[in-house]
Symmetry: C2
Subunit: 155 residues, 2 copies
DNA sequence: AATGTTAATGAAAACCATTTTCAATAAGGA
DNA sequence: TCCTTATTGAAAATGGTTTTCATTAACATT
């Protein structure tokens, strides 16, 4: 199993360095897969993608790596209601910023949206401030999803 | 197993009537349990509560009934990240209205909040309207949860 | 109140995404 | 290159939820 050293060092390398985790080939492969997709992949989907290039990487490692990446804050883990966790790179140089999701309850399609987030941001800021004070609750993050029917699933 | 007929007919009776579902004892017992709690119970917790009064009601029936109630819109199903679904009566004469949740990532405590929902409502309305138009997405419902540390889990 | 139809039920087994176990491997420092 | 030990893969276990299927009971009809 050859070491993964194609091109320039990826942006996540220093994150592993400073955290003291080993930057192994399976971990790099998983991060590459997540970097090169627009979708919200499940663990098994990531496993299959990695498996094409490195057939000896196991599903267990995919689960373990994803847990690590979530703990490191490099990856977000979502539940869109289809009985399996789905993962998304939390950020990155090329990637989009923080966003919320539209979830089609018919076909399962996920739409990222950032459009109305400016109005939302202000509300969120106020709401979080109010809640923090009222309940003395230290908010760290939030989950906002809208469910409904996508364009193709209406009519 | 005696029929459940204590006191005045509960508010959900007509909902079963018109939907053509049979109002059985296990179903009534489960609705009673959900009516008499402030918590967000799991299927097993509901099962245990029902089991105290009707030991012959099975866990399977609890799951099936909850699925039915969710489909009927009488109950909401939530994922608060503790590996099991949690359920809450969606409304009712005495119950509180639509609300969102604060989830403590340390102790798992769930706080219902309705306080800042008036400001939120307006934002939600605008956001949903904008999203609907932009993506031609017909929004039916939403999920909003704030995660963080509750009063007792800080400092 | 008795009957018939069939939705609803309970116990056990199956399901399946995820986690754990454990011996083998390899990343990175010395 | 050698050592330490974090990391890995295969297989087994886990655990919440669902399915199966024979039995029961809700309730519309007598
Ligand atoms: Mn996304
Ligand atoms: Mn609630
Ligand atoms: Zn759709
Ligand atoms: Zn707490």
């Amino acid at each position: 199993m050859p070491r993964c050293r194609r091109g320039r060092p990826p942006w996540w390398e220093p994150r592993f360095q400073e955290a003291g985790f080993r930057l192994t080939m399976p971990r790099q492969a998983i991060l590459e897969v997540l970097s090169n997709t627009e979708e919200h992949l499940s663990a098994e989907e990531i496993y299959l993608a990695v498996h094409k290039i490195y057939p000896n990487v196991g599903l267990t490692t995919v689960y373990r790596t994803l847990e690590l990446l979530v703990n490191m804050g490099l990856v977000f883990k979502f539940d869109f209601g289809d009985k399996r966790a789905r993962y998304e790179l939390s950020q990155g140089p090329t990637s989009k910023k923080h966003h919320h999701h539209l979830v089609c309850i018919n076909c399962g399609r996920i739409i990222d949206y950032t459009d109305f987030i400016d109005e939302e941001k202000e509300l969120l800021r106020r709401t979080e401030a109010g809640l923090s004070e009222k309940y003395n609750f230290k908010i760290t993050h939030h989950l906002i999803q809208f469910y409904g029917l996508c364009e193709e699933c209406q009519g």
